[in-house]
């Protein structure tokens, strides 16, 4: 059940250009599952930036972690936060990844910072004795945070657009060659990547779960700020109906 806590930052580790792992000291943190997220902001922000920022759990427990990428003011502040700084953490929020279909091999398709909820998922698979395949794409080898960690817990395949690491190109290339009746996909990354993955999955009739992103104000279904269009012509609200959804339910071509 979601809970609002304040917790000091325990540690911040820069793990590449613009990427940081933040660890909080939160013994009263409620249990979180892979794919769930929290809304976080530092007490010191005062009135600006105003809204808390949604971040996926990289790991749960009493020392919850997030992986952040510097985008704007909020993430820039997180990227310079000092241990001891007090944060308010509201979580866990949203829906976790569904359990894997028995016997299927999970293929985790990650792009950039979308890797966080997939690392957490890979760990769940690992704990269940399942070895997932991870397909991880970035523009360059600078855009692959946590790939070393993934390498140690999954069967990792890397692609970069400039060929600086792994296969040159996008994740969709290797993905296609891996698809068959006994696999299922879990993906998180830039919208365009997920749309491409979802399309391929649908064509090949492979189950596909995606973790969505949308601007959020509240994170728990009350502001109605985070709709995503479904194929049914209705909206789902990313924070409560997602972020993990069945990719087939989403209208990936809607003008969002």
């Amino acid at each position: 059940m979601k809970k609002l806590i304040t917790a000091p930052l325990l540690d911040r580790e820069e793990i590449g250009a613009g990427y940081h792992v933040l660890t909080f000291d939160a013994p009263d943190s409620p249990a979180a599952a892979p794919g769930q997220f929290l809304m976080m902001r530092a007490t010191s922000w005062g009135d600006a930036p105003l809204l808390p920022r949604p971040m996926s759990y990289l790991s749960g427990g009493d020392k919850p972690q997030v992986l952040i990428k510097v985008i704007g003011e909020g993430t820039a502040r997180m990227a310079t936060a000092q241990p001891g700084e007090e944060y308010s953490l509201l979580g866990p929020l949203g829906k976790t990844w569904p359990e894997s279909t028995l016997g299927k091999t999970p293929i985790l398709v990650a792009g950039g910072v979308g890797v966080a909820p997939l690392v957490f998922l890979a760990r769940r698979f690992q704990a269940q004795g399942v070895q997932p395949v991870v397909l991880y794409g970035g523009r360059t080898d600078q855009d692959l945070p946590l790939s070393d960690l993934l390498d140690s817990i999954a069967d990792l395949h890397v692609t970069t657009e400039d060929g600086s690491r792994g296969d040159k190109g996008r994740v969709t290339g290797p993905l296609m060659s891996m698809l068959n009746d006994s696999v299922e996909i879990f993906t998180c990354g830039p919208d365009r990547m997920m749309a491409a993955v979802a399309t391929i999955a649908q064509e090949r009739q492979v189950p596909c779960q995606a973790s969505l992103e949308a601007p959020m104000a509240c994170g728990f279904g009350v502001c109605l700020g985070c709709p995503v269009m479904k194929t049914s012509g209705e909206y789902l609200y990313t924070c409560v109906d997602g972020p993990c959804v069945n990719a087939a339910d989403i209208d990936w071509n809607a003008d969002q």
Binding site: K2, L51, M216, A217, V222, Y235, D255
Partner: protein, 304 residues
Amino acid sequence: MKQSITIGSAELSNPVLTASGTFGYGLEFQEFFDVGRLGAICTKGLSLEPRLGNRPTRIAETPAGMLNAIGLANVGVEAFCTEKLPKLQDQGVTVVANIFASTTKDFVAIAERLARESGVLALELNVSCPNVSEGGIEFGKNPNMCAELTAATKAATDTPIWVKMSPEAPSIIAVAQACEDAGAEAITAINTIRGMRIDIAKRQPVLARGMGGFSGPSLKPVALRIVYELAASIGIPIIAIGGISTTEDALEFLFAGASAIQVGTASFIDPLAAHHVRVGIENYCEAHQLNASDLIGLAQAAKK
């Protein structure tokens, strides 16, 4: 000290409410605190039929504030009555129904539907939403139209009518006075002001609709001024809204002449904000040996 507040024919256990559109249907906050202890909650704006709302992007942040163009997405009055209201009553939550339509006829129909239920303390007419194309705010800008609407809904129900002001009315005071004359029991002020942000990289507005309603702490000085002006101009109680996050913010509005306040955007930043404000006012009253009703208008006396 006594926390109860009288708003027309309604008695509230305390002066702290939550603002429409920022508190869902109230149930979502029960996990955080006992919502039944608030003076009341105002529901998300209810329309006659369910509404999907605007397409995204619907929200954007601004300095110490935010923009929203939700477009009054809601479950519709029927689903509210059958699915939400019974649960709210079970949990002892005092409910104000915020209602919206683009015609007097539809406003009246919503009022009539709600009149069939018990447990609705008041109807708050939203004649001030900047985020839909059809009508609504046109009522809120025009004293005569607003008065007629007030009278029509009043005739359709025994539930008290509150009218929620748009800060963009050419004369808010004229609109509020017209509503008072037409039988409104309270004025709520203010709804959002239209604002905008442009995405530099995309060179287009951030919100799909271009503009959205501006709310949050940055709105507070304007809302406070309007409430202060209204308090000197009308005889019915004012329920103040606009950037209230803390007990101090709430006190400013009560001192300015509001009889009660609503916590809005602040609930996104801290879901317990309204709870903290309620407790804070109670503590202030104890410390100064004042009833909550004694706080109303304390700064009006000092007017020059």
